[in-house]
Amino acid sequence: MTLIAFILLAVLATVGYVLNRQAAAAITADGTRLHSLKHFHGLFSLLSVLVPVLVLLCLYLALQTPIINMVTMASLPDGVLDGMGDGAQQLVLAEIRSVSQGRVFGTPEDWKIIAAERMVALYQYADIAMVTMVIILSSVILVLTRRRVTAEFRARQAAETIIHGFMIACSTVAILTTIGIILALAFEAIRFFEMVPFTDFLFGVNWEPQIPIREDQIAAEGAFGWLPVIVGTAVVATIAMLLATPIGLLTAIYLNEFAPRGLRAVVKPVLEILAGVPTVVYGFFAILVVAPALRGAGADLGIGISPNTALAAGGVMGIMLIPFISSFADDALSAVPRALRDGSLAIGATRGETMLKVQFPAAIPGIVGGVLLAVSRAIGETMIVVMAAGLMANLTINPLDSVTTVTVQIVTLLIGDTAFDNPKTLAAFALGLMLFILTLGINVLALRIVRKYREIYD
């Protein structure tokens, strides 16, 4: 039915296009000049039909289910829901829904079957109403737009206005997303901070989120102190950056200035592959190869290395960041005008001198921006640490110890069934909020730098 509605809409919009175009063509037949080209008249009709009806259709589809649910629940016989909590009511609804879709497990109560039948009927009504709405609305708009076809009608401006509006709407999605993130995080985090004092969270040195899940226990003192988590994050990120930055930069320098064409043609795509490898793969790589290797090496040297060492997670993360940094640096170096390089070479500088004294300094702002973005990624990187780093929050900076990170905690706290009413779940949002704020700060700084730098040479 939904499909039919969409197809009908498409057909009617096309009809509108054809009708208006023909009408416009008819005007030109006697030599009258149109203000706008024929096809703009058509386009105007097409858009006039398409945009409002499409928006309505989407709204309808989005609201249909909640409303039907509400109606179904409201029409249940009195008393059946008495004494049920929120969760239990949801379960009832889910069961009714299953029944309405023909999946019957066991023997549901009769009222549930009746409700299910009502639900099916409601859906049928809704579908018919939807199709009717599409037909009527589209036809009305169609007639209205058809009437507007005259020689003077500025169909181009009218059509362009609609497109313009659509594009503005698109660009607000980005803002909505950010607002959504902030609202979602802040909302849940506030609920968390109602349960756990903010200062405890910020300055606490113990992170033991498993403790308070026992029913009767209030959040234990100090169990939600994020310091060990953030320190662990910092340790992992630092290891990653220490590995990635020099290798990435040297790679970029070599590729940009010294590499023979053939080599560059091979290395660049390969690095791109490295950058395109999903982080879950790196995580698997860490537990499959790197951690055992490290442990083996440690054993050989007589050093005890924990299985979830920060070194493994950080090291693999560093490898993941190499292509990120090298491609950023390569871009920044390439953005330095060739004229500068020629200028330096023409003075009698060697290629190395040119690179180190002219091109690299000129590209530094861009590179710094790139490195900062890499830091932000290192902090926010999830899968590698989820798979390779530990779960225990140790307040340590020893890279050979097991540490945990913000992202690890978020994921472990939220995997599995989640109820939004206990501090364990909500703590993840508090961590998420901190993570967001932290990376936001770094990103904004990095983007500022990069953008300033771009302006120099654009």
Partner: protein, 430 residues
């Protein structure tokens, strides 16, 4: 204004062919720098090599599967037409196995012998008989996967030299297996099941179909949402938006979104889509929407870059002959920028395909044994499947994980190759 006094030092009359010590030193520095560069590249390359090599080494075995071929007598005593679904298929199979293992004691070892076969074999047999009840009472040839320990044994994953108590298969089981092998009943064909089966508790039965279908739905949703919105937003911001505080804010916003950790998007989806809007858990549709939010900044940025790369002179030219701004954009700029946009979109989708964390948070790591038939059904996706398998203790899942990774990388390389091809084919030098 030229002063006539000489420079501080008189012009050095040096020969071009004679290198002074100073020049030699400068050249050495050059060489050292290059050496560092090559070393850096070598490191990156060797890591990549190790990564791929270890994946291939552990993963290639998952592309074949050890099967055993048995002559099964569908014993009407065990299986009757009336009670078909609940028939004693397992016993029939066990009997068939015992037939081939004379040294095994039909009573004592029945349980152990039965374990040679995968748990899925009985369902295979059931499906065949249900489809064709006339088979009851006949002897049919059945090829079924062996269970994981024997699969490993066959592929060399189990070292026969290790002491028996540290092996997953004891000596007797090894002997049985060898007997079967000698009888020519063991085969290792290509593991079609890897692509046609959904997830399973049993490694030898577990396949990627559910994950691939889930990823497909998620990506489709992601594309349908992010592509038009991303392009619309990019065009507006690049070509139409007045340069003011607001557009600056949006720009910073988008760039920031591109760098926001993916797990945060997971949190967003969890709180908003699941908790507030009550959309179904584990649904690829929700995953797709989440991925769309993540991909959109990438598409917007790539589109803007592609639009920017179109020289302003083209715009001026079209404006100069009296085209409206939208005619300029949609008639000239956008077509020229399309290769760049498509490249960016494909790369964005490739990233989305590999994205794991947000999908974990919305529950796409559920254990689901059937492929989703619509984007609203619960499902896993390729990366989350990898995560699940990587977490599973069974030895057989290690190679399956690697295989799944290789499959995923295969998709990614394909997509990236398409992107690179597009970029090279349509790249324009202005």
């Amino acid at each position: 204004m030229v002063d006539t006094t000489q420079m501080g030092t008189p012009p050095r009359k040096t020969s071009l062919t004679h290198s002074s010590a100073q020049v030699a030193r400068r050249k050495r520095k050059d060489v050292v720098l290059q050496g560092f560069g090559i070393a850096a590249i070598l490191i990156a390359f060797s890591v990549l090599f190790i990564l791929v090599a270890s994946l291939v080494r552990t993963g290639y075995t998952a592309f074949v599967q050890t099967h055993v071929t048995l002559e099964v007598f569908v014993d009407p005593g065990e299986i009757s037409e009336e009670g078909l679904p609940r028939g004693g298929f397992r016993d029939v199979l066990t009997a068939a196995l015992l037939e081939n293992l004379p040294e095994a004691d039909p009573d004592e070892d029945a349980r152990a012998v039965r374990n040679i076969l995968s748990n899925g074999a009985q369902f295979d047999l059931r499906d065949r008989v249900v489809a064709d009840p006339s088979l009851i009472g006949q002897t049919i040839t059945l090829t079924a996967p062996v269970s994981d320990p024997f699969d490993q044994l066959n592929k060399g994953g189990v070292n026969r030299e290790t002491p028996e108590d540290q092996r997953r298969v004891n000596n007797q089981e090894v002997a049985w297996f060898d007997t079967l092998a000698e009888a020519g009943l063991i085969s290792t064909p290509f593991n079609i099941g890897l692509f046609t089966h959904a997830d399973s508790r049993f490694p030898e039965l577990a396949g990627l179909k559910g994950a691939i279908v889930g990823s497909f739905w998620a990506l489709l949703t992601c594309f349908v949402i992010s592509f038009p919105i991303g392009i619309g937003a990019a065009i507006y911001l690049e070509e139409f938006a007045p340069r003011n505080r607001m557009s600056d804010f949006i720009e910073v916003n988008i760039n920031n979104l591109a760098a926001v950790p993916s797990v945060v998007f997971g949190l967003l989806a969890l709180a908003v889509f699941l908790n507030w809007f009550g959309l179904p858990r584990s649904a690829p549709f929700v995953g797709g929407m989440t991925l769309a939010l993540m991909t959109m900044p990438t598409i917007i940025i790539a589109t803007r870059a592609a639009l920017k790369a179109v020289p302003p002179s083209i715009r001026e030219a079209a404006l100069g002959v009296g085209a409206s701004k939208q005619q300029v954009v949609f008639g000239h700029v956008l077509p020229l920028a399309m290769p760049g946009i498509l490249t960016g979109t494909i790369i964005g989708l490739a990233q989305a395909l590999g994205e794991t964390a947000p999908l974990l948070l919305i529950g796409m790591n559920a254990f689901i044994t059937s492929a989703a038939s619509s984007p609203f059904d619960a499902s896993t996706a390729l990366p989350t499947q990898i995560f699940i398998w990587a977490d599973s203790p069974e030895r057989g899942f290690v190679s399956r994980t690697s295989a799944a990774i290789l499959v995923l990388l295969g998709f990614l390389v394909t997509m990236n190759a398409i992107a690179i091809y597009l970029r090279n084919k349509f790249e324009r030098r202005w």
